[in-house]
Each structure stands twice: as C-alpha cells, then as structure tokens.
Amino acid sequence: MSKERIQISEDLYDIMPSDYQDLVKNATYGKEDRGWKDIGTSKELIEQHSLCAGCPESMAFRYILASLPNPEDTVMVGSTGCTSLVFPMVAVHNIHSLFGNQNAIASGLKRALSVRFPGRVKDVVVLAGDGATVDIGLDMTLQAWFRQEKFTTICFDNELYANTGGQESGLMQKGFVAKMAPVGKLFDKVRLPEIARESGCHYVVNCTVSKPSLVEKVIRNAVHIAREIGPTYLQLYTPCILEIGKNSMEGLQEMRDSEKPNERFAYKEYISEPAKQLLAELAAKDKERKAAAKQLAGQASA
C-alpha cells in the first residue's frame, strides 16, 4: 500500500493541477502511523471547504481524513447536507447519491469491492449528518448493522438539519425551539448509540471532536474493527454554531461544555468481545513495530 496508483506519467506531469502534483509528492498515503499530527505538515486529503468559518464539522473532517488508516484503499459514502459541500474537495473516492441512503450505498459498494478484490483491503466509511443517519435513513442505517455489513458509519451530530436552515431533527435535544419545533421539541434525543449496540455494532463511541488525538484513536479503531469483524458506529458532536447562536470562535468551547460528565456528549464507548481482542492484537503489533523502529534508530546512531 503506497502512492503507486496515484503516480503521474512524466510526460503529463507539468499539465497536472498543482494540488495533484502536491498530493503525489507529499500526501501521507502509505504512511503507517499517519494521524492528526500530519495536519499542516504534509498534503492533506481535504482542500478548501465551503463550510461556515469556525464550523466544528470542518475540523472533524480534517481529523478524520488525517486518521484513516488506509486512505489509498478507502472509499467514502456521504449523504445530502453540509457534508456534501465538503466531499467534492476530498481526495479519496466518495459517493453522494441521495438523501438518507448512505448505508444502503455502502452495503452494495462494500460487497462489490469484496467480489472484485478478494483478499485485498478495501475500507468503506460512511459519513453523514444526523438527519440522514437517524431520521430519513434510519431504516437503512439499522438494517446494514443487522446484516453485519463490514463498514464504519460516522454520524456528524449537530442536533438539527443545518444545511436546510436549522429544523428539528431526531437527535435534537428535547425542548429545543427550532424551525418545525415551534413550541420546543417534544421528545427526547434519539438514543442511537444504545440502539447501535443492540443492533449489532461491534464498536460504538459517542463523543465530541474537541480532542484530535481522541478522534484519531476512535477512527482507527472503528475502521480496523469494521474491516475485520463487523459494523462500527461513531456519533460525533459537531455543533452548528450558526443555528445555536454561537460565534465562529465558540465551537470548541461548546464541545468542551457538552462533553463534561453527565452531559449528553460525555465520552461513552462500547466494544464487543471479538473487537476487544482485535484491538489488543493491534496494540501488541504497534508496540512491536515501535520497538523495532527504536532499535533500528539506536543502531543507526551507534
């Protein structure tokens, strides 16, 4: 796994867009320990985006794309919403088709890639908003989990329909006054992380994206477990600062406030037994790799 498939023919090099030349030269494809710390130091897989200034979703996008363990063989599936404004600028193959069908698309895609590339790793990662995941697409979200489809589902939970202008969603908090909830939302925030666990997900995390190192860890875990064992689900709080009346510099504080103990985004995780075993094996291998690298470095300096 490397940059072998994105090399540019020498004869065409000078006419390729500069950002593509930069991708081939400097992207972290093939780097085993790629992660959030590469942001800003090498070519990123996301270019400019058209989200609002200070939108936590844009941070989440950068952390996730920097943390994918295998971007050179990862296909992403999106849905309609703010995320669909970002995906055109992402340098991994990504599919937008309809609103809410992302887990159905991913099911067909993952199976096609398994038929076409037996014995090779092809990761599929779904990234969609809470309206797509929990409201219009809930059926397909759950059914993919029931069938034990081997891909990761990431929900950017901003607790409302942001792209259409701030309407009530199933993941909105009870009592919140929004468009289409003129007297306040009348029912509780849907408990999708618990539903995910009961529906067969092997790894479920509910958190904010305030800490890039945490995002990196949960993304790597989720993708590895989905690849080897079965469905995984991440629910990440990416507040819509525009619709909750915050300023562009207040997104981070909003996330920090919401992840305090007993708040709705206090860190919660569920890991199935086979997934725990896999993570232990991966951690052991990682330790071995680091020790070997250290030894090699020691030999070189000696």
Binding site: V75, L85, P88, N94, N101, I105, S107, L109, A112, V115
Partner: protein
C-alpha cells in the same frame, strides 16, 4: 486495466466459457426448453457473468428473485442478499455499480414506485444496472394483478426502457441488454419490463443458449465516469458537481449533464438496433389498419389480426420493443399508410397511445384502445370489436355490458 477480449475462450470458476456475445446469441446452438418466465430469468442470469444481485419479495417477481438466489448458492453470482425495501435495494444496487460490479435486480408495481427516487440517480451517475420490472397494478385498493401503468413513470428517468413480449424476448434481452447498457457511449441503466404473470407465471418454449457459455465480464474501466474503487487516481470532484451553488455555471453544469444523459439514451439507439434487429418489428404495414403495441398486447393484437383476416379485414402490426430509446422514425415510417391505428394497452391512461400521437402526423388516426387494467385480460375479441366499431362494422355485444 483489464481487457475484456482477453478472457474470451477462457473458463470461469463454474467451468463456463467466456464467449463473444454476438456469437453466443447468434451462432451458438439453442436448446428448446419448457420453462416459466421466472425460470427463464434464472437461466439468463446463469449465463450473464453477474457480480451482484440484490433481491426483495414482491409479487410477481419474487420467484425469479429467489431462483437467482439458488444460482448464487451454486456459485454463479458473486454476491446476493435480500435488502430491506425496494428503495434500499435500488440504492444497494447503485453502491455495487459505483464499485464496478455488473448488477442485476428485479422489482414490480408498488416496489418500482417506492424505489423511484433512485432511477434518475442511476442514470445521472451512469450506472449500467439491469432491473427487471414484472409489471403489476399500482393502484389502491391493493392489487397484485397485471397492469403496465408503472412503465409510464419510468419513461422520463433517463433509463433505457425495453418492453418484452415473450419469455424468449426476456431470455435474449437480459443478455443483450448488458451489451447495450455497458457501451461506453451509453453506460445507462436498463429497465427491462414485461407484463407480470402473463410472462412470469406461464410456461413457454424458450430456446436457450448452452449453459456452459457465458457473457464476458463487465469492465468498469470502460465507464465514462470513474469507478469508485480507488484503483484510479482520485480527483477532488464528485460525480454531481456544483451541488447547490446558485449561479449560472452551476445551472449550466446541471443542464449539460441532463442533456448528456438523454444524448446517451439517443446513442443507445444504434446499439439497440444492432442487438435487437431494430427497435420495432413490423408485419403488413401496407395495410390501412395497423395495431401498434408493446408487451403481451402484441400477442393479443396478433391473434386479433388472425380473427379479422377470417372476416376479410386486413390489418398490420407494429411491435414496439424499446420505449427508450423511442423508435420515433420507425413508427412514423411503419404507420405512414395507415388510416386507423389501434393501440391496445394494459393500463388505464394509455401512455403508449399518447407517445404515438406525439410522434406521427395526423394523430387523429390513433384510436387509444382497447385498454384494460387492474388485472383484466384482453381477449383478442375486444380488439376485433374495437376495430370493427371504429370502421362502422357490425360487431357482437360483449358479455357483461348489460346491453
């Protein structure tokens, strides 16, 4: 990149020989077999080198969808599963096609309607999925009976739409359909329709190609848009660019994309003519009376023509095979001598008659009927009666009309 021609003559894991499709369809020996339409769909799929089939139960396609599951169990299909609804199934088919698979599915009636949002997306994304539509009623109160109204809704999706008359058409067109759909200058989904029950649940003699010969595999790298498998360089642009920018460039992009879909439908014309031996079949088009029909209405029309012959009335026939691409020139030419054009249909609105009226000069020649719907059969006698009434000839009174 794979070259599909390089596999011709080699064997797949089931021991079938990848065979040039033209030779397979036109030169390979045929064995007459007595099968239901559903079994014929299975036999066509056995020879189709299909990567992914996704199933969902709805009458009258359930049997075919389940039989293809048996093929999967035998190892003829790459992957197969039951989806959760037709909307989901058509999205799953899209996902598999985005990933470079040759994809097959079957649906009917209310299922077609439930899945409808997917179809313009399929053609917009240039996914050459093949979908069998075994038409049935979509009305309320609930009906499972034959009725072709759902085809009318498919005509403007940008899909290719073909209407099979017999199980033999079905067998041949499933295999030929992939050849047209997968052409780089077409690369569009195909809705291959038939009249439910009449074709799916009746037995007929069908001439099958040898079971040990199959189609060459689909090559996703001949697609006019990138296959989403990260095997070719990713570009920073998705397939539906300029999502929701409100500016002229955005509108122009969307407009030209839509025009390109319909240009691709037009470009399928030459391939369809090549594989189907014309978009229409004709008999005696020098007659003053002509029946134009598609699906099983063609068979009923043919029988009506025989009855009319006995009474000395000469009548020609046009069998419309492809609805998209629409055989505009062909129908105009075939009906140029006709003083009366009858369009028997199995639906209440008469969508085929409307298409024909919009195509030919002097459309008052078109008699939009007889039409039956809701599962009613169409005895040839009512076509005869319609024609004789229009000609001012004495006709028998039909039972049940109370006269």
């Amino acid at each position: 990149m794979a070259d599909i021609h390089s596999v011709i003559g080699t064997k797949n894991k089931k021991g079938q020989t990848y065979t040039d499709t033209w030779k397979l369809m036109n030169e390979a020996p045929r064995t007459p077999s007595f099968f239901t339409g559903s079994e014929v769909i299975k036999e066509a799929l056995r020879r189709a080198s299909c990567d992914v089939m996704i199933a969902y139960p709805i009458t009258p396609q359930s049997e075919a969808a389940a039989l293809i599951g048996e093929l999967f169990a035998e190892g003829y299909i790459g992957d197969y599963f039951r989806g959760e609804s037709e909307f989901a199934v058509m999205s799953q088919c899209a996902g598999a096609a985005f990933g470079g698979a040759r994809v097959f599915t079957t649906t009917a009636g209310p299922g077609t309607m439930r899945a409808m949002e997917n179809f313009p997306m399929w053609s917009g994304a240039r996914l050459p999925i093949q979908m069998i539509v075994t038409c049935r009623g979509i009305n309320s109160p609930l009906s499972i009976q034959p009725d072709t109204l759902e085809i009318a809704y498919l005509l403007n999706t940008g899909m290719l739409v073909w209407h099979a008359e017999t199980a033999q058409d079905f067998f041949d067109w499933i295999l030929k359909g992939y050849m047209v759909s997968e052409e780089p200058d077409v690369h569009l989904p195909l809705a291959l329709c038939c009249d439910g029950f009449f074709v799916t649940h009746t037995k007929d003699v069908v001439n099958l190609t040898p079971a040990d010969m199959c189609l060459p595999p689909y090559d996703p790298y001949r697609s006019p848009v990138p296959c989403m498998d990260m095997e070719c360089p990713p570009v920073r642009m998705m397939r539906d660019p300029f999502v929701m920018k409100s500016n002229y460039i955005s509108y122009a992009t969307h407009a030209s994309w839509q025009q390109e879909i319909w240009a691709a439908v037009e470009r399928s014309r030459k391939h369809s003519i090549h594989w189907l031996n014309g978009l229409i079949d004709t008999e005696n088009t020098d007659a003053e009376i002509i029946i134009v029909a598609s699906g099983t209405a063609v068979s009923q029309g043919r029988e009506a023509i025989r009855l009319l012959e006995d009474e000395g009335v000469r009548c020609g026939l046009v069998k419309v095979k492809t609805l998209r691409p629409w055989p505009e020139e062909e129908i105009r030419e075939a009906t140029k001598n006709a003083k009366h054009i009858f369009v028997p249909e199995f639906n209440v609105t008469g969508w085929l008659a409307k298409e024909i009226k919009a195509t030919i000069p002097n459309p008052e020649r078109v008699h939009a009927g007889p039409r039956v719907c809701g599962g009613m059969t169409m005895p040839p006698e009512i076509i005869v009666s319609e024609i004789k009434t229009a000609l001012g000839m004495k006709t028998f009174s039909l039972a049940g009309r109370g006269s």
